[in-house]
Amino acid sequence: MRASQDIYPQSVDVERDVEQLRNSWRHPRGVLGWLSFTTHQAIGTRYIVTAFIMLLAGGIEALMIRTQLMRANNGYLGPERYNQIFTTHGTTMMFLFAVPVMEGMAIYLVPLMCGTRNVAFPRLNAFGYWMYLFGVLFLYWGVFTNTAPDVGWFAYPPLSGPQYTPGKSTDFWAQMITFTEVSALCVAAEIIATISKMRAPGMSLNRMPLYIWSILIQSWMIIFAMPAIVLASSYLLSDRTVGTHFVNPAEGGDPLLYQHIFWFFGHPEVYIIFIPALGFVSAIVVAHARREIVGYTAMVLAQIANGFIAFGLWVHHMFATDLPQIGEAYFTASSMMIAVTSGVQIFCWIATLWSGRPRMTTALHFVYGFIAIFVLGGLTGVMLAAVPLDLQAHDTYFVVAHFHYVLIGGALFPLFGAFYHWHPKFTGRLMNETLGRANFWVLFAGFNLTFFPMHILGLKGMPRRIYTYPPGMGWDGLNLLATVGAWIIAAGGILFIVNFLWSRKNGEVAGNNPWDADSLEWAASSPPANYNFEYLPAVTSRYPLWAPREQRGVVTGLATDRREALVTTLMDAEPHHRYILPGSSIWPLISAICVTIGFAGSVFNGWYITWGAIISGLAFIGWFWPKRPLEPAHD
């Protein structure tokens, strides 16, 4: 992009500044250089690409599951293989696809939408990515060496304990959790710091785009939910490897305690996945209905309430464990409350579309698809919150249908919409709209064909996680239908890939703001330069690019000969001080390798924890060791 002097004040030397910015933000060359990238666009892209590969892996596993269940007494997969596949499918989709892809999108979009140059901790960001990647490789190393986990993505003890699942498969699973949680926590911490302290001047809390709100809430949820799963998987791992008794019923440990801790994480996990997706929906609705959101305050409050309530309803996964009735009533009420806060958001979107001028782009198609699917999934969720209904539907295909409606409808459809929406920003080119619409309709049809029959299957008594079923149960036809649907979904996925590849070369060149959208990322060039903005923007309204020209502003005076950003105050985003961002560094990778040696080795020998801690400590010291010369203070 050529810098244009005319839109900037006379006082600045745009050409010199841009030249310096290019130099100070330039990526290092070579393989080693490539491994040292710390810009948020690079790391975000790596997250998104890795996560999409995981989506493909999880999708192939799903097809294998559906093919096995196509007809009664099918012999395609044996029980051992089937259990591995469904466990790997769930684990991949939850831990290695859904959460990381949301994080990748956030890493890419948050600094742009907040109007800053990078996330607050760029090297931590890179470290988080490497941990995630090593977690992926670790689990799939197990899968390809026939030590795939086979006790479900929830790994309830005692089935997952040393007595009933000997071997290393569950240890692989439990340690993979640690990898992804370390990664998720790194991202959450840096996203919170970025949003709290690095927003554009003038972007007070009540001017933050709804997507920023959603990712902020999601990050806080990660901070409080993920420690629980770290604890649960550590319980499991230490019971299995060093002989503790945390969840061993023979020694006073309680398998239900594991379930409590697991679901204290596991339920918020679902919201961790779909709350950012709701943020995508808000961004798409505003941009493509071409109007401000109706009920901004209500939306923000509903999202915050969602975040809180999500921690108060984990027990609805455990109604069948014979809990006291009074507790059940509480968890029924809290589970249904989430329908109100979600409902408010749905109403606001409908009102915005209703009174706007919706432009029927592919992105908006996915939003409409999202509303249809997610509302249905939400209503079956209300059914499952009722204890008597849950006791029938729990652990049947009704639940499988429900959470695929909520997760695919609530997260994957908005994600596809978001991809169509932001693809021009990521790559500089629009995706093909005709193919995009075909992509949407095939996915939508395939999705409903696959998962709607599962409601009926569940009511007709088909439990989850069975690798086969006898004929004559009345399940054959519906299962066949679901399998056909799954293959149609796969066709939709292929259309998406085709469109993506086609658009890389042939897509229409987008320009900075092809949708005439409102938020700051559209002020940057497409794709954005490593430093995002020549001059950081300053804002005076909630929809900065829709504000009259005289209300727009830019920040001058930041050093351009080093990576520097602006720290602003938490509430009002008033400039506070300048902040020197670190440059490229290989240390995150070295540290991640050292930590990985500790984590991966501990599956085989507990002492690796000690050795891993020592070498990781040394790596972290190398990371933080001051570079020569000490950074100039400029003050």
Binding site: D6, L124, F246, F264, R552, A613, L630
Partner: protein, 205 residues
Amino acid sequence: MTDVQTIDVGHLKAYDISNQDPLWWGQFMFVFIEGAMFAILIAAYFYTRLRMDVWPPPGDQFPHKLLPTLELIPLILSCAGTYWASEAAKKNSRGGMAGGLTLNIALAAVALWMRIVEWHSLNFNWMTDIQGSYVWAFLGLHTFDYIADLAFTAVLLLLVLIGRCGPKQRLGVHVDSIVWYFLVAIWIPIYVVIYWGPIIVETQQ
């Protein structure tokens, strides 16, 4: 000409050693994460304990309370060293940082020695029974963090002593203090659970 407003930030400081810095927020998140983990672990301890008819499990000695209680003294005092160092970091006083960090490390090391002596005297380990698992988890997790932060503090002290101590490092001294306060503060409930817990919630057959 332009009609765009400008905000010139050239006059602002290039760093700020205070809670306004993103790094401070990052450390604060770390404290939240650790805090959430210990909170869940404590809740899990009581959940498990309430299911048991006899507590502590037969054969487990009651932990001694004298040494762990005495340990609190150097531990809490070490926060003074931390505070001294973190204030000196703001004022860019090398002597203050060196003194504060040295005091911090010395007192923390004394407390650590007392803890390990007491730990060594336990007649059960993590494999013995469920109480053993929990006590060792509390001690292990907290001591691991404790030693890690101590090592990091030692590195900071080294940087201060050899004079490689720019604004980033001084900010490090400042934000590191939050983690130390946290580790001391969270030790108090853990201390109560480990050393007084078996007595407070004791039940005999």
